[in-house]
Symmetry: C2
Subunit: 389 residues, 2 copies
């Protein structure tokens, strides 16, 4: 195994009916005043907000609510919440939502704990020297923000989208109740599952490692998510299926799948996908499904990573070991799986053509360097996009 | 998945040559005075102690050394170390050793941090209200004390062996360098690997769960350890083999293999094994190898857990799915694997006979309740021991 550092300090309380457990966790930490942070309407419509407010009132935990956090969370909302946290002397931030609400809570926690303007902290003008603890309730899986130390905040004034990460920003406690996600529509559940699969593949396929326990754990994650997605739509509200999907979404992207491997992650698929998100209104998972099989063909065409691609085909996708070219057959099988989810596997399926490629490649190249199998540049990004047509 | 709480906050720095990384970790935490805790001679003979002392002197970290911690760590040594930590105003404990040194460091950390006598804390006369942070260096895998919050301390005055556990006692940082364990003899390495396998099986076989990602992760751990043990003795000093074994020893017993399962663990094999340790001078792993295949036969004879036993046989032990009775064939295969490690699989192999059983059963029964597949009592413990003859 290659050397690594692994740190995943968040306490995860997982399962149906676990929301009330946030109260004893706050109490054990001596916290009686919190900032409650939410997204848009769904947390109010579902009754979850009322549940939490009742729990807090009964326990004597005072709270100030800031709602309306949007996807791609905005700096202006974060600033509003920082002010509210200061005025109410909040001792902790309680995000109730998905990745954008958790991400925002981290920026708020750092700004309040460090006593500096939040954008000065995100742009590293001031260091993070303290942070309020975060006790969150997850309502939508996807980014693993519930167990990582990272946030991405969008400054709409300057058009900058900036990441911030610090060990003080791991949530102290994350409540993950899969049944809170029953209201998510079928296609969104599929998108979430496919995103989880690509999170695993970004490290699993990043080097040509074909042995060891982390290789097998990665394969187990992908097989599990595929089993669950294949069981839909029949099992859409089946707890066993949804809890397995939710578990994998949280933990498959904890860093575990990169431990001891030659590369912690390739991320060319994600970075090129981000360019598609930036220029077209496409769901994140679709930006991945139209790139990854074609990125794989591109890599295989260069004669790279054939062993791990073949292993993936056989152990995960059911390609017979005796196939003439298991690595190539695996890419076809992945494409067939993508189509079974009513998702596209080529740019032409989403009406993107050759003339659109230069702008996409240029946009993706702005986030260079990336790519560990093939370190990317403008020419290789263009080549992957051309193969994806 | 069944509901669970998972918390594993220790930062693990894993790999060859990682010992010097303890210095920046202490510095980042603002620590300049530590209690250095070691076992017997090996840490001095190997030069590791001198390496650490040189690192600390160069970094201006002052230290007080307490050495001589023994297996089954003694209260008297812990008290000596608590006094030394107090006198030198240590801000952290640095255990350098195996499970007994890590366990002792937790008792010391709790006593100093809570300001009470260590035995009063272990016997819960006083609560743990604080603890010095622990920054450890592992030199012998086995107990996973490097990533858990538990210690077992032996009071030789009262003949009591007591566990203590508290979330404040997770090590902050554990340095795990597999190459520090190259000096461990072949048979000890086998014992360590077999102990890891049984740690997984205690939860994997505890219910009849045969699906899901945790099932597959557990199987991957056992297959990985078996592959490594089968590669010995040729690969005894092969880093790939030893790092995989060390990784599995640390993480397979982190609680992960029990997540979401019907039972977090059975532990009848461990508890009955402890009685063998108490009454005979046997290595821990041998107490497990002479019980577990026979416990499996006993469980299978009751018609329980046939599905998971059959799955274990096929996915881990290479028994063909078409075998007449895969579950039974799996037990035979496990026994053959045990023998391939030069280990016994029955009590008669270690000269324990029917007349010894009553005393063994009574000793094991002192730690009731245990057993989730079959909740144990004196009669069932006796029956498992009789089947183990």
């Amino acid at each position: 195994m290659h050397n690594f550092t692994y740190h995943s300090p968040t306490k995860v309380i997982f399962g149906q009916g676990t929301v009330p457990k946030i109260v004893p966790e706050l109490q054990k930490a001596g916290i009686s005043r919190v900032l409650l942070l939410t997204g848009g309407k769904s947390v109010f419509a579902s009754g979850l907000y009322d549940t939490i407010v009742t729990l807090f009132r009964e326990a004597g935990i005072s709270f100030e609510t800031v709602s309306g956090v949007q996807p791609n969370p905005r700096l202006s909302k974060v600033r509003e919440a920082v002010e509210a946290a200061g005025k109410s002397r909040a001792q902790a931030v309680v995000p109730v939502g998905g990745g954008s609400v958790f991400d925002s809570s981290k920026a708020i926690a750092a700004a309040v704990g460090s006593g500096h303007d939040v954008w000065d902290i995100i742009t590293r003008k001031h260091a993070i020297t303290g942070a309020l603890p975060i006790f969150g309730i997850l309502t939508l899986s996807g980014t693993s923000s519930e167990i990582n130390d990272t946030a991405v905040i969008n400054n709409t004034d300057t058009n900058d989208k900036m990441p911030v990460a610090h060990p003080l920003l791991y949530p102290a406690v994350s409540i993950v109740d899969p049944s809170l996600q029953y209201t998510v529509p079928l296609q969104q559940v599929r998108y979430g599952g496919f995103d989880t699969i690509v999170h695993v593949l970004e490290s699993y396929l990043a080097g040509n490692d074909t042995a060891g326990v982390i290789t097998e754990h990665s394969e187990a994650y992908v097989r599990a998510v595929m089993r669950c997605l294949n069981a839909l739509p029949e099992k859409l509200n089946d707890y066993a299926t949804r809890s397995e999907l939710t578990f994998c979404a949280t933990y498959a992207f904890s860093g575990w799948c990169g431990l001891g491997r030659a590369s912690r992650g390739d991320f060319a698929t994600h970075r090129i996908g981000h360019a598609l998100s930036a220029l077209y209104d496409m769901p994140h998972a679709v930006t991945l499904s139209v790139i990854i099989p074609n990125w794989m063909e591109y890599v295989l065409g260069k004669g790279l990573n054939r062993d791990v691609f073949a292993r993936f085909a056989v152990t995960v996708l059911g390609v017979p070991e005796t196939a003439a070219d298991p690595a190539a057959a695996g890419i076809d099988a992945l494409r067939a799986f993508i189509h079974s989810l009513d998702m596209p596997s080529r740019l032409r399926d989403v009406d993107i053509t050759a003339k659109d490629i230069p702008a996409l490649a240029e946009n993706a190249a702005r986030t260079l360097p990336f790519g560990s199998v093939i370190p990317m540049d403008l020419a290789t990004i263009t080549a992957v996009l051309e193969r994806s047509l």
